[in-house]
């Protein structure tokens, strides 16, 4: 296979990681909303933890974006 083609295919495969991170971020906010509606009184106190979970889940998706960018523009 042409090396350039392999790079572009790899960058495309990295998009799977972005999609997985989308599932993760959706899961974080979905679970938060679900439990916040069960106990609205405790919801505001947990907003910090909500964003920590969001940041941790999002970072891995952003890493896959970095991998794609490196494959396209650097490697």
């Amino acid at each position: 296979m042409d090396q350039n083609a392999a790079k572009l295919i790899g960058a495309g495969l990295a998009a799977i990681g972005a999609g997985m991170a989308a599932i993760g971020v959706g899961n974080v906010f979905g679970s938060f909303l679900e439990s916040a509606l069960r106990n609205p009184g405790a919801a505001d106190g947990q907003q910090g933890r909500l964003f920590i979970g969001f940041a941790a889940a999002e970072l891995l998706g952003l890493l896959s974006f970095v991998v794609a960018m490196i494959l396209i523009f650097v490697a």
């Binding site: 106190g45 910090g48 964003f51 920590i52 969001f54 940041a55 999002e58 970072l59 952003l62 890493l63 974006f65 970095v66 960018m69 523009f73």
Partner: protein
Amino acid sequence: MAAEAGKVDPMHQFMIEPLLGTDRWQIAGYNVPFTNSAMWMAIAALALLVFVAGGMKRQLVPGRWQMAVETMTGFIDGMLAANIGPAGKKYVPYIFSLFMFILFANVLGLLPLSLFGLHPFTFTSHFSATGVLSLMAFAIVLVVGFWKHGFHFFSLFIPHGTPLPMIPLIFMIELVSFLVRPFSLGLRLFVAMMAGHVLLEVLSSFVISGFNAGLGIGPVVSVLSFVLMVAICALEILVAGIQAYVFALLTSLYLNDAENLH
């Protein structure tokens, strides 16, 4: 921006360019020109200064501007009180400056200034800028941790109640996760900002090349892309706020580790 043959280069917007020439800016043999990145940092700092100075009137019944500034300081104060406790009070100036600087930088980079022929530059989309901010947070954590706890600071890497055989493994894992923090902190902000701007640029190239394709499916794609672009712009304003908040929140969590250990 539209380069030759109707192609839009999505990476051109991140180009760092010297503004006032390169020849006169020599320091000890190194060329240190005043770049567009430095200019937008100065603009963000200046805007922040004006914003805060306008709210320093200390009136008993605050006006709108003072209310806005006090809401932001109160927000940071509450975040530090919740995450660090009473010891977090002394970090309010640093975290407030950090949060507002990043927020102003992110939002200023989204301004539609190209309508007036200017080119807004988001310096938070460069790892050199966000990396320094996260290294500063890491340095403060190290200094505070060793100052307050001495070598007892290393107990941060061994949670309470770890079984004895597990201690070497847990120590290594916690050490690596501690050392990777400045990297992941800076990377998150820079990639989130860069991804958004690349996405906007790619969608704008769809709009342009769709209309250039003549009648048929082209204009349909263009209009749909344009609608999506407007929606993504709104999302980007949200992301600008969330990323600034996440940066400040994680910095305060790391400071909590240094202040209170586990």
